[in-house]
């Protein structure tokens, strides 16, 4: 019988199954950061339990860490305590890899895992962070979990799961100039809605997806959760295997050959059935900008802010009105007339080397508009930062008027000092435009790195296709 990729990943991890279909799934990789783990380690200790397999753990602090003045340490005492608690917990139990604050390999977990070869095809990957879906780019069954489940995985190396429904999102054709994986992700969410993927595992397929780099696929799978799906994945191909070759934790020698042979089977079989199929044409996707407080509130750069008066559903209409009020926008305003106060290039969605290259390509020889108060470039990890510096990208960002920062989650969720002030409007390459996400009262517009760079130069949203 033809199997989907999800069927194969699922079947490879079932340890035990209850009568109602609830299964015990084995977890290969457990990513641990400072915010969602302290209560889990404490719970484990209080129950007198030991971690099941510490070599499954890869850990780094990322949410709370500052992105500047590293010589001064972490100034916020509560943030510092949380990072020190992670240090102490990992010191006590151990890990396959721990990259503490200021380590050259520290960074955002979802950047650090893949670049170190700690994310391998066919793995189950979990983390107390919803953007764990990122690792699906490697044909992993990867998703976010709560802290109780972090404790459960620590104690048992398993999770209780019910099988999801399957959705194939196929993007066929060739993406236009200036249209990136981020635009594809936002266009998909605009099509299916933020709850469209609820209850589903999404497989991204089609020629446009196969055309994306591994970085692009990570951006796409990262945003699966914003479409409601806990996990999104892409089948293994040559790009997957080429990316993983010779990474620090990738297998070597004979084991590599054996692994590759298995990885080559990680795709949906011809004729495999999905519960839902959504098809988009790559040529229809234009650079995207969100206008509201949910990622589904998104339009193309050449569109206008939607008018709630045209929405028939009263609940949706009220939601739109509330969003426009929060965002300080009027219906029918052209997106390209909306000015920006701050620009943020970073986050687990868009802080990899390719993202920085795309932004730098737009910024080269240009300067941030004088009305833009702050433009931040925050690489996803220490390794990404060094790679970018080796390519001279840091100089391009700095010459254009950007601040070139140390790695971390930064202004994606503003747990550290990087944030918006009330009413400030930001062109952001992050993943959530929720109320207050980047700081209380802050107004977030989600865009690609290239579009963020174009907005920084123009001082308002601008069509990157006009400046490429």
């Amino acid at each position: 019988m033809s199997k989907t990729l999800y069927d194969k990943l699922w079947e490879n991890h079932v340890v035990h199954q209850e009568a109602d279909g609830t299964a015990l799934l084995y977890i290969d990789r457990h990513l641990v950061h400072e915010v969602t783990s302290p209560q889990a380690f404490e719970g484990l200790k209080l129950a007198g339990r030991k971690p099941w397999r510490v070599s499954s753990i890869v850990s780094t602090p990322d949410h709370n860490t500052p992105t500047d003045h590293w010589d001064e340490g972490i100034k916020d005492p509560i943030s510092r305590q949380q990072v020190e608690t992670l240090d102490a917990n990992i010191r006590e139990v151990g890990a396959l890899a721990y990259f503490p604050f200021k380590d050259p390999r520290m960074g955002i977990l979802h950047v650090v895992g893949p670049e170190n070869g700690a994310t391998l095809p066919g793995m189950t990957v979990v983390c107390g962070d919803s953007h764990t879906s990122t690792h699906g780019a490697f044909a992993c069954l990867a998703h976010g979990i709560g802290t109780s489940e972090v404790e459960h995985v620590l104690a048992t190396q398993c999770l209780l799961q019910k099988k999801s429904k399957t959705m194939l999102v196929a993007v066929e054709g060739k993406l236009g100039k200036g249209v990136t994986a981020k635009d594809v992700a936002l266009a998909i969410i605009g099509t299916i809605g933020t709850a469209g993927g609820t209850g589903y595992a999404i497989e991204f397929g089609g020629s446009a997806i196969r055309g994306l780099s591994m970085e692009g696929r990570m951006t796409l799978c990262n945003m699966a959760i914003e479409g409601g799906a806990r996990m999104g994945f892409v089948a293994v191909d040559d790009k997957t295997i080429d990316y993983l070759k010779d990474r620090p934790f990738s297998p070597k020698g004979d084991v590599w050959e054996k692994a590759v042979a298995y990885w080559r089977t990680l795709h949906s079989d011809a004729g495999a059935q999905f519960d839902r199929v959504v098809t988009l044409k790559a040529e229809d996707i234009r650079p995207q900008v969100t206008w509201g407080t949910s990622p589904e509130m998104v339009v193309a750069i050449d569109a206008v802010v939607p008018d709630p008066a045209k929405q028939a559903d009263p609940v949706k209409r009220e939601g739109m009105e509330r969003a426009l009020q929060y965002m300080g926008l009027n219906p029918n305003t052209p997106i390209s007339q909306i000015p920006v106060d701050k620009v943020f290039i970073g986050s687990c969605t868009n802080s990899r080397i390719e993202d920085l290259r795309e932004a730098a390509h737009v910024l080269k020889g240009r300067h941030v508009a004088p009305t833009v108060k702050l433009a931040l470039a925050v690489p996803g990890s220490g390794l990404v930062k060094r790679q970018a510096e080796a390519e001279g990208l840091d100089k391009v960002f700095i010459a254009a008027g950007f601040e070139w920062r140390e790695p971390g989650c930064s202004m994606c969720l503003a747990m550290n000092a990087d944030r918006l002030e009330p009413g400030e409007r930001c062109a952001s390459t992050s993943n959530r435009n929720f109320e207050g996400r980047q700081g209380p009262g802050g107004r977030t517009h989600l865009v690609s790195p290239a579009m963020a760079a174009a907005a920084a130069i123009a001082g308002r949203f601008a069509d990157v296709r006009d400046v490429l």
Binding site: E18, R53, I78, G144, G146, K162, I225, P251
Partner: protein, 213 residues
């Protein structure tokens, strides 16, 4: 975990779709290394007129009189009634911790985000999915009736309105059993420790690359 069998509780309406976990508990409160004490900061940005900080005394902060949960008639509510896609966004379990600490034991919605839904069960909160027309009817009744209460009967899988009308709901048998008994998942899973060990040993041989040290 407390057992959940039957609840007879005051209902508070939160008439919005897509309520995300950033709204339920803003990021600054995630710096705590404890599981408790999040209730006073549940819905902090909607509930108060100022910006809350972790560790601060919340009793003197100016409250937003327009926020529904600040209205006197909803004080002591144990059932939260809301719309579609409740709990979307971040996986932070601080969201169900905050709701539980605030006093909610059951949440009735048209739909829930997957991770939040799952996190509720780990904390003895019952998330109930009802059809849109039943949700709409409940909103009308709650808003029209001060002191409006609902009975949530988990064993019978029914929400019972004051007029006696019962609305059935679905729940996985395994999850129901865990809630009704207040079982600890980890304890349950460890009954299969031998099976996990066997599975792991086979895997170590068939896919050795997964076991780098």
């Amino acid at each position: 975990m407390d057992k959940f069998i039957r609840l007879d509780g005051l209902v508070a309406p939160l008439d919005r779709s897509n309520v995300d976990t950033d709204a339920i508990i803003p990021k600054q409160f995630l710096k705590s290394i404890k599981r408790s004490g999040f209730g006073p900061n549940a819905f902090d940005e909607w509930r108060y007129m100022d910006v809350g900080q972790p560790g601060q005394d919340n009793s003197g902060r100016p409250k937003n009189p327009n926020f529904v949960l600040n209205q006197p008639r909803y004080q002591g509510a144990q059932v939260l009634l809301t719309r579609a896609n409740f709990g979307c966004g971040s996986s932070r379990e601080h969201a169900p911790w905050a709701l539980l600490d605030f006093g909610f034991k059951a949440i009735i919605a048209e739909s829930f985000a997957d991770i939040f839904f799952n996190n509720c069960f780990k904390n003895g909160i019952l998330p109930i999915v009802l059809p849109a027309n039943e949700i709409e009817a409940l909103f009308k009744q709650v808003e029209a009736t001060p002191g409006y209460k609902l009975v949530v009967d988990l064993e019978a899988q029914t929400v019972i309105r004051p007029d006696g009308y019962g609305v059935p709901f679905q729940i996985d048998a395994f999850r129901k059993e865990c809630l009704v008994n207040g079982w600890d998942d980890i304890g349950l899973t460890l009954r299969h420790a031998e099976k996990i060990r066997e599975f792991e040993e086979k895997r170590r041989i068939s896919q050795p690359w997964l076991f780098a040290q």
